[in-house]
């Protein structure tokens, strides 16, 4: 079972990396970029039936630092052809 975890810095937490990329986009001539925030995408291949509580625990214990980051869990369902 494929699962995606998106980890983002919480609003209000400074993202110097995002700020530098924002600046670079403007330097390339892309106008109208209001803000850039950089997060992390973690793709997990877990046993079928792994429940949401277990995935949440993985996020809280390791994948995200909830002091500074929030996370969302997206199930991608079964890979094509195996269902």
């Amino acid at each position: 079972m494929q699962v995606r975890v998106l980890v983002r810095l919480k609003p209000g937490v400074l993202d110097p990396q995002g700020r530098a990329v924002h600046h670079a986009l403007e330097g390339l001539g892309f106008a109208g970029v209001e803000d850039v925030r950089i997060g992390r995408l973690i793709e997990l291949d877990v046993a079928d039936g792994t429940d949401h509580a277990t995935l949440t625990a993985m996020c809280e214990k390791l994948l995200a630092n909830t002091v500074i980051e929030s996370f969302t869990i997206e199930g991608l369902g079964e890979p094509e052809g195996t269902r």
Binding site: L14, P16, K61, L63, N65, V67
Partner: protein, 229 residues
């Protein structure tokens, strides 16, 4: 009584030897070296030190992987029994990730790795780590980090300041840290995390290649407090 300090080495630690040398110079007793994969700490420890470096290559977040290593379960248990713990630089990041200290260390606000001596103000001289300093004293200690930008929410910062848990502050803004915080204490005052490297400032200026001896009194504070306990 022989002073018993353990220095934990994670894969990627690089200040573990400096930490052991500082502890031995001040206490006269060699530090016990402990590997991160060990599940148990030596008995009757007076201090556990988590050194600087880049444990696990800073994968995921600085200190995050080390915080899950087998020895950290033992460190957390020891800290809960009141065994003093000192975390410097990456050691501070590990303590924050292990939730032994509040807050987190973000990428430096200026994006750059900072490696130089900085001036710190000693904010709290009542702790077992800082009793040899004078309140408000300014000291010079080297920093060397990329992720030293201390973050905590306003409520936590207010609590830390109100409870006298800010041990050190940067005298001038250094890395974007909230309220210029350079080192914080746990609620019981027995865990200290700090980004600057006191173990790199333990020798008289005449022989020091790195920056004076202002860090030495941190180790003398610990040794004095525990030797007289």
């Amino acid at each position: 009584m022989t002073f018993r300090a353990a220095v934990i080495t994670f894969p990627g630690s690089n200040c573990d030897r400096d930490m052991a040398v500082a502890l031995e110079q001040v206490s006269g007793a060699p530090a016990i070296r402990v590997w991160h994969g060990d599940a148990e700490l030596p008995e009757r420890l007076d201090l556990i030190a988590l050194p600087g470096g880049f444990s696990y290559g800073d994968y995921l977040r600085s200190g995050a992987m080390a915080a899950t290593s087998p020895i950290m379960r033992a460190v957390i248990a020891a800290a809960s029994r009141g065994v003093p713990v000192l975390g410097v630089c990456n050691g501070f990041q590990v303590l924050a990730e292990a939730r032994l200290l509040p807050g987190a260390l973000l990428r430096n606000a200026g994006q750059r790795f900072i490696c130089r001596s900085v001036t710190l103000t000693v904010e709290n001289t009542d702790s077992l780590f800082t009793s040899a300093y004078v309140p408000g004293e300014q000291i010079r200690i080297p920093v060397a980090h990329h992720d030293g930008n201390y973050f905590a929410d306003a409520e936590t910062l207010d609590r830390l300041e109100g409870e006298g848990r800010v041990a050190f502050r940067y005298a001038e803004p250094c890395n974007g840290s909230a309220r210029d915080i350079a080192g914080v204490l746990s609620a019981n005052g027995r865990v200290l995390g700090m980004m600057p490297h006191p173990e790199r400032a333990i020798e008289p200026a005449a022989v020091s290649t790195l920056g004076g001896s202002d860090g030495r009194r941190l180790f003398e504070s610990i040794f004095t407090a525990l030797a007289s306990a």
